[in-house]
Symmetry: none
Subunit: 203 residues, 4 copies
DNA sequence: AATGAATGAGAATTCATTCAT
DNA sequence: AATGAATGAATTCTCATTCAT
């Protein structure tokens, strides 16, 4: 949307048509490759599957870290856009839980992504953190809306909700189990009270 | 219980005193190093921090994978022992939730461990998987006990509970947030009902 | 002849000019290095003498074994070509003995080569074995031709002749002695009869 | 026999009984191990098969090279003893050819031995060269005797005969082929003349 | 004397990144 | 702009040799 991080290169000059095509293909391939093999997947692999030379990858993304970052930014931005779109949906409860479910389902099988969701909280200094923050804000909106209509209890706050989102997107059980796992979390987000006794039990 | 996995070497012969010391130091250092850097941390790093040569590390653990495995087995075994001990505690509810909390707290900052908790479900064929299964079984016992006394609702099953354990142990927020995150999950495990509408919402 | 094994890479695509140069230099240097130090000579040594980095060697030959194999294939192919050329020479006797002499002379100082001539009989599964077989077949033709014109006695067969070729190419005496050694073998291949009594004497 | 190289250690002091036993066992195991794997077989392997610690091997033989040398000396000495014994046999022809056959047969499957037979000609400076010379001298005697009775033609000399011995002991064909190969060589050593034309053909 | 443990110096191989075409 | 080639710096693992018990 109105994100400033969407420029094609830092130089600002618009890319030639074929270059833009290449950049996009590389980015998409990288998402798959890092999704499967994590950070440690090799840049050559990305180049090969994208059908370009390694040097081309490095022309577009000066370091492997930059490539990884670009992948993450793209992903975070997409998610943020979805969240923003849902924030205008008629049923805020369905919007919130639906988004939560979809994100977790999508993250399955995307190692690097979820690793990143995780680490992006920590210092990276870069664009990925910003993009992650954008997503977090959008989730915050969804959450507030849902609380407004009583779909989510009022006493939970964004940090723990986001932590749950990150956490559950990391687990990679089969769909069946994943759904049952989410059901529990969603119950916890809805009902409230009661179990308070055990919250810190044993600590 | 009487853990059979605690022998010093598979060979059976007890190690010389100095060797055992070294082996233990290496194992502990490795736990930290892999905890911080994940699988991709280098064996050399482990050796350096343990104050021994790389070759010494390899003498004790013939491959890097074996070292990683040993670390995991040790950790899983420890956790299983704790779980087993708690399974005989007077208050099954406190036992279950207490164990859950402690595990998640301990996992903080231990990348490799949680990665492993995660992957151990998949094929590894090795000792780590066995140890992981042992832990899972022990958690199963805690869960059943807690359900028996009504501390955990009766309609949840081990797979999703274990998935939640894995998931939340992966997230690494500060203590504050972690506790609030767990409170939500624990609520979901206690109350039940109600939120069913949203379980698969958006899917 | 039209050797099919001479392509630059198995991929088929012709190498860039500079790459081909490097590949050839590496191959030649490797022939010398392995010739002197045998299989256990180091790849680093090859790289150093070829004036390239180790990684370059590995780019061209993905494993040390592959490099060794390439060296052998090249050598076997060359020898086979020579043998094939000689198989059309006017004097089959001179062709056979001449080839024999030349091969033995060339093998002097080439440990890896003769080791390989030796081992190629055994299982390697690879291209070297094929190339070795090609050479053996070519020698077979030379032998048959020479027997046809009576230059080599009729009752010897390829296996023992090839074994002799391998054996004598392994010994590395000075030229003088080598020639005298070959003279004995050649006599044995020509005359026949007579000494039969001693063939298995003492056995 | 009257060899001066038979002392147990260079120190001169006689070894304790158990030490001598160990030394012998190590030596025999080493012969097998190096026979199978060549020089590159590991010292640990020797130790393991001998049922002693590595350090014990190194106590008896200060370096791997020394161990290899000792193996060779032992082997050369044994062969020399056999040759010397045969030099007093009634039939010098049978003695010569018999010894030749036996040596070649024994060498089969003993990589290091034949490698050494080969290299011992070159500079080693050590005891192995001396032992090798002893063997060579003994073969010389066998040869002269055989020539004396006309079993071997008179115009061949020790260097080329020894070279043939070395060469054929390196080839490792099956028994069948080996025998036929030797038959050719023996013919060459007996008959003489005739094939002279080809001796240096092609050179 | 015997041994298991420790180790430094390689060796093969990989990979992010730079260079020449 | 695109590419294949080149490379230095890791990284895992091995082995002859030394050390401490």
């Amino acid at each position: 949307m109105s994100t400033p991080g969407n420029r094609e290169t830092s130089g600002g000059r618009p890319l030639r048509a074929d270059a833009r095509t290449n950049r996009e293909r590389i980015l998409n391939v990288a998402e798959q490759v890092f999704g499967k093999g994590g950070r440690s997947a090799s840049t050559e692999e990305v180049a090969r599957l994208a059908g370009v030379g390694v040097a081309t990858v490095f022309r577009h993304f000066p370091t492997k870290a930059a490539l990884l970052e670009a992948v993450l930014v793209q992903r975070f931005d997409r998610l943020r856009e979805q969240a923003e779109a849902l924030s205008r949906a008629p049923d805020p409860g369905a919007a919130f839980f639906g988004f939560f479910s979809r994100l977790v389902a999508d993250a399955a099988g995307k190692i690097a992504i979820s690793e990143a969701l995780l680490d992006a909280g920590s210092a990276d200094g870069g664009a990925a953190v910003q993009a992650s923050d954008g997503l977090r804000r959008a989730v915050g909106t969804l959450l507030r809306n849902a609380q407004h209509v009583g779909a989510v209890r009022g006493d939970v706050e964004l940090p723990e909700v986001y932590a749950l989102l990150v956490a559950t997107s990391r687990a990679r059980p089969e769909k069946e189990v994943r759904d049952r796992m989410l059901a529990i979390v969603f119950d916890g987000l809805t009902s409230g009270a009661g179990a308070g006794t055990f919250r810190t039990a044993g600590r």
